[in-house]
Symmetry: C2
Subunit: 493 residues, 2 copies
Amino acid sequence: MIYIQQLRERYQLTIGYLGTIVIGIGIALLIPLLIVPIYKGEVEQIKYFLIPSVFSIVLGYIIRKANLDKEATLTLHEGGVIVVFAWFITIIISATPFILSGQLNFTQAMFESVSGWTTTGLSVVDVTKTPNTFLLWRSIMQFLGGAGLAVVMLSAIIGPHGLGLYNAEGRSDKLLPDVAKSTKLIMTIYLSYIVAGIVLYIIAGMNWFDAINHAIAALSTGGFSTKVDSIGEFNSVAIELITIVLMFLGTINFAAHFLLLKGEIKRFFKIGEIRFMFFILSLAIPITIVIALLGIYNTLGKTIRVGVFELVSALSTTGFSTVGYEGWPSFAIFIMIALMIIGGGAGSTAGGLKQYRVYIMLKSLIWNLKGYLVPRNTVRQEYVIRPEGKYYVPKKHIVEITAFATIYFIVYVIGVLIMLAYGFPLQESMFEFASTLGTVGLSVGITSPDTPVLILWSQILGMMLGRLEFFVFFFAGVKIIRDTKLMATSFKR
Amino acid sequence: MIYIQQLRERYQLTIGYLGTIVIGIGIALLIPLLIVPIYKGEVEQIKYFLIPSVFSIVLGYIIRKANLDKEATLTLHEGGVIVVFAWFITIIISATPFILSGQLNFTQAMFESVSGWTTTGLSVVDVTKTPNTFLLWRSIMQFLGGAGLAVVMLSAIIGPHGLGLYNAEGRSDKLLPDVAKSTKLIMTIYLSYIVAGIVLYIIAGMNWFDAINHAIAALSTGGFSTKVDSIGEFNSVAIELITIVLMFLGTINFAAHFLLLKGEIKRFFKIGEIRFMFFILSLAIPITIVIALLGIYNTLGKTIRVGVFELVSALSTTGFSTVGYEGWPSFAIFIMIALMIIGGGAGSTAGGLKQYRVYIMLKSLIWNLKGYLVPRNTVRQEYVIRPEGKYYVPKKHIVEITAFATIYFIVYVIGVLIMLAYGFPLQESMFEFASTLGTVGLSVGITSPDTPVLILWSQILGMMLGRLEFFVFFFAGVKIIRDTKLMATSFKR
Ligand SMILES: [K+]
Ligand SMILES: [K+]
């Protein structure tokens, strides 16, 4: 009975923390209103943000007051529970402006909200008819869901010494000893990149509104665009180059940025995951261009531009595009699918299996083969270079990564099967769900306002599983069910 | 220098063993001629078998005489080298009847030969125009490549305590302490099954020639048929049922047969891999029928018949079919692809990743998830049931299986890309190469006499890698290259 009592108190504490998060969302909802003085025609949009904002702030305040408010450190388990609860509240509140304004129905609004917060960038809105306040709100969700939620919630609440899955993702704790300090540092770095991106975009010819939205979307590997044809609308080499750089910066491990910024370029390029990323691209880009893309575009220059941009966008899981893929041969589409499944850097805002995991699996394969060739008592040098230095890879680490890859493929296959069951072709289904689960956001057309509701919901779930990492979900889910049962049982007595 | 001398002697010994194998192939080439007295019209085919047969026997005899002939036990490494050399000689000699008779060109003949020996069953011959002696020769290759080569060469030469890959495949050594004895036992069991299959087929209405060929092809999970429409040609429920049972028997681990035959049915159904196989089928068959196949065939009965037969054929990697897949929705095709990639039982003549490996990966995932839920110092019960009993799975075992799965996927992706580069659609390419690498033999049409030569050769390589297991190949290849260099260097001095 004492345990049950404790459990209740802990949950009250957990809910108290949730209150703070809800207040935060309420404040975030006010940000899009900052541009109303400039776009005066959007005055009537104010209420769609103000109502949920006030509601959230009041609700959050009540939640916090009604529950324990004293300082206390959360345990690992509680951190997981908060993350899941916070996500549900966050995405529902974030969907309300779309619903209130009548632009989207509930499912579509939830889809857009989840796509934003997970930095996926798949969309069911028509950007040509969407007010600028809403376009900015989409970008804010991506920023908070990327740098914000990733860093603040996952790092600060679950903690850097938490779950094995952190280890499995190759986060680099040693470089970031102090969570609060490093969170601040990461946010500073991110904001600096974004400001730099905005300035460069404006120099390259974008207007300030497009520049803000695209810089945020590129760096958070989000990929929402204010244009129907995404980056392709600008048809500018300079803008494409800026975007490619921002996408790279967005998809790189936070810890690797420290090396970059400290000017330790040599150490930066020794990181296994970084080398692996450039290895993949230097293999995939020329092959795809030569075998599949030659002859599709007028000039060789255009072909190379397209090949580089789309493949970087896919691997970094950003999801910007400069062309449509209707005329692309299956060869190129298959390469894109493979890159989207591999995904971006570990410890970044990107999605997918993560380059680090794939790299470890390939390394493990090589170690395995070598194992047959050297005498049994040879000392093995089974390490990889991570941002913080050499890391000797234990078998347990490989087993955890395998578990992750296994569940990733299972969810992928189920997602594809759901699309197939609705009669979509295999190639399109494989592309679209790889894009969904990898939080990439590229589309070959399955995702639209007319998409069957069940597919949209399977995509919502896929994006969340892909972004939150399955184990957090599983972990918190089991704890919530267990605790609920326990409390319910004690209540009956 | 002493080492070099020894190395030469060892290679002479290895080559001596090869001589024996070449003589064996020469004798096998005579078997199809046994039916000439019955099919008298095929007298003129005799020379196409007799010439390579005599050539092989003489060549084998010379090889054996010219090299050391004394008794000696081969080491592990030499076993691997023999397997690879023996395969190359075997498939070349086996292709000659097709070339001599002018039925196929060199590439096609090699394809047919490799397809037979690897028990794949993809074919570039037109069975309606192929003499019976050649049809029987195809079945004999499957029998020898299945039960014969698998058991005799891999078990006897490499030995049951050999390579880690054996362990990785979950071979059950404890049940089979004596290699020679167990080889004999396995051959006896196999031949009994085949005889039983022939008798049942004849009772069900097949003629004796079709019965022989189909019984062999089913049990060796080979899938070559004497009919264009494979088992579908007979349109008989009884024949389909017999075939399903034979396919199951063919795809089950050798060691599991011992339990079956000893009447230990309960223990048999406790084997993890067996339960997993039935689990997959009991999930995949009803889902595929309900979602994808309803309405395609006239009656519900026919639909169920087709669903069960094709899915068992795919998972067991046999490759018989009763229908074409032109009208099948992508949902069903995708399920078939997944089943072909999973593949048959470990320690059988089947191909694919192997059910055992997939089972271990899923178990590992479950153990991983459980690991987050139980206190850290809890004693874990991480074992699976193999035919010989409980097996506590070490992390090393899981890492080896992961390495295998990784290389399997890499080869699969490359194979698919080659087909895509020739302009074949994604769905067809994924199906055809899953079938190739898994030595299944089902086709959606890419494999034909008109297939581009490069694709045929990539399939030849795929079938061999799929059948021989990558590590044997790699292992022997590296040894041969190293030793050759060593001997060449010593020669220069
Ligand atoms: K994205
Ligand atoms: K087969």
